[in-house]
């Protein structure tokens, strides 16, 4: 059996990947034909794969995923407001993906991380970095429609909101995520 905090954290990662897959899957279905539609479709399929990787990882570690009600990104709309258009959806996603990369990289540095978890983190990080790249390019392409300054302002606003959500999440789950942060130092 694995440590209870790790069990919870991996289940939390899985729940967040599922939320991402469902959100972007729905979005992919509604987008008109475009490069963004294609990238978004690949993105949601990747998120669904990540949920599978965490499920498989937990199984390999001898446990089933915990049923968790709220995923990390569910708190975004409260903290940052509802995105009003595709540009704002991409901006909030860019900020979220950077947070995922940062959290997974932090976890990978934690000395007691089981090898199976380390491998899963590395496998997912490759995809997440690709996600950041395509969204950055898509936002650049949208500069003509929305203006570079508007996009920069949206990214800044969502970055501040993300910091607030992350701070509140780590406070709420101090014993689970906080221990990881200390161990990685």
């Amino acid at each position: 059996m694995i440590d209870g905090n790790l069990h919870w954290l991996l289940s939390y990662y899985r729940a967040s990947e599922i939320s991402g897959a469902l959100f972007f899957g729905e979005l992919s279905r509604t987008l008109p034909p475009s490069a963004i539609q294609q990238d978004m479709t690949r993105h949601f399929a990747d998120e669904a794969s990540h949920a599978r990787y965490w499920t498989d990882c937990l199984a390999e570690l001898g446990v089933a995923p915990l049923k968790l009600g709220v995923a990390y990104q569910d708190r975004y709309l409260d903290a940052a407001g509802i995105p009003a258009n595709l540009m704002e959806i991409l901006a909030i996603t860019q900020v979220f993906e950077k947070r995922v990369v940062s959290q997974y990289a932090l976890h990978g540095k934690s000395p007691d991380t089981p090898e199976m978890v380390r491998k899963t983190l590395a496998r997912i990080l490759d995809d997440e970095e690709r996600h950041i790249r395509w969204i950055r390019e898509a936002l650049k392409d949208l500069e003509g429609a929305y203006g570079g300054e508007t996009i920069s302002a949206a990214l800044k606003r969502y970055t501040l909101a993300d910091r607030d959500v992350y701070r509140r999440t780590t406070q709420e789950h101090r014993e689970r995520i906080g221990a990881l942060r200390l161990a990685a130092r």
Binding site: S19, L22, F23, E26, L27, T30, Q73, D74, Y76, L77, G81, I82, P83, A84, N85, L86, E88, I89, A154, R157
Partner: protein
């Protein structure tokens, strides 16, 4: 000019819920089944009534009534110009 009731009916249709449940004091999260449905609702309302919302507007939206007011104000304000 559009009325609050027209927007309410549209929200009811978009969210596939009974119009009686689209009350002013209802929270968007109570009414919509997921985060995506809320985002979709906001985008589709803009298309349906040919209005544009901004992030600053969205920060003020807590309830269905807020969203209806924003849509009506933005549409009728523009129509009156």
């Amino acid at each position: 000019m559009i009325t609050r009731n027209e927007v309410r009916q549209k929200i009811s249709g978009l969210l596939e819920v009974d119009s009686a449940s689209v009350k002013d004091d209802a929270g968007l999260f109570e009414l919509a089944s997921s985060s995506f449905r809320i985002v979709e609702l906001v985008i589709e309302l803009q298309e349906a009534f040919d209005v544009r919302f901004h992030q600053a507007d969205m920060n003020e939206i807590d309830s269905v009534g807020d969203l209806i007011d924003l849509t009506v104000t933005r549409h009728n304000g523009r129509s009156g110009c």
